[in-house]
Amino acid sequence: MTRTAHPNKEIEAALRHAEAKGWRVKVGGSHAWGRIFCPFNSSECRCGEFCITCIWSTPKNAFSHAKAICRVVDHCAEQKQLKLVQSKRAE
């Protein structure tokens, strides 16, 4: 991993979770620590706004922020589709 780690360990864990699902993390900003980018970037996506999501450097509540990041990553429509295909293949 070459990027700088997020100063908060809960958020850093959420970012690693995002990276494990193929999201790209880009560092930069002042209030905003950086952004995460959905790997699919599909026009079919129903949660479009959150395909690029801003990460705060010092959010009001780091725990809630980390939870919200995981929510976005796990609720991604493409991700769900992928899971469905994988579970069907496994059957």
């Binding site: 900003g29 002042s30 209030h31 905003a32 952004r35 959905c38 949660c47 479009g48 706004e49 959150f50 395909c51 690029i52 999501t53 801003c54 705060w56 010092t58 959010p59 009001k60 509540n61 809630s64 922020h65 939870k67 919200a68 990041i69 929510r71 976005v72």
Partner: protein, 173 residues
């Protein structure tokens, strides 16, 4: 209590995205996850600590108004929902909720729109499920749904032509 909701905005045309995000952060919206994946729009997923859902939603609307004066609210969520959304929120299966709909056709909430996909107000669905009992619905979720419905209705009201208002409302009464 912590209230979770999303506000979606159309940004003014000349707004620089980085600038908008920084201003929102400075205005106290650092309890929101900000999505910027669609050009000209932002979505803010708030996890706001407040005494009531009303205080949470109203203070969030106020913060955004202060930080980005020209931004136009598109939608407060969760309000417009399909069966799958309700099932996810309540923690039951879509099939289960569909069964309820078929078995209780007479009392089941009427949708806002019916077509290839049907859409309901979440508040209507939750209060119906609560009446049925047996379904545990977090108070914070139910309170937020009541507020998001009112906010979306208020947001649409200015589109109603004054000339139409009395006439149409008399016909619908």
């Amino acid at each position: 209590m912590e209230y979770i909701f999303t506000l979606k905005y159309q940004l003014p045309e000349d707004a620089g995205l980085d600038d908008v995000v920084e201003r929102l952060g400075a205005a106290g919206c650092d309890d929101a996850l900000i999505g910027v994946g669609l050009t000209g729009r932002i979505a803010m997923n708030f996890s706001r600590d407040a005494d009531s859902a009303k205080a949470a939603l109203f203070s969030a609307l106020e913060d955004v108004k202060r930080a980005v004066p020209g931004a136009k609210l598109i939608e407060a969520a969760p309000d417009f929902v399909g069966l799958t959304d309700v099932a996810d929120l309540v923690g039951m299966s879509r099939q289960n909720i569909r069964k309820l709909m078929v078995h209780h056709a007479a009392t089941f909430p009427t949708p806002v729109h019916e077509g290839s996909a049907a859409v309901w107000h979440l508040a209507d669905m939750l209060s119906w499920l609560q009446l049925k009992g047996a379904y545990e619905i977090a108070a914070s979720v139910a309170d937020v749904a009541v507020l998001t419905k009112q906010i979306n209705l208020a947001n649409a009201a200015p589109m109603l032509l004054p000339a139409m208002q009395r006439e149409v409302q008399a016909l619908l009464a």
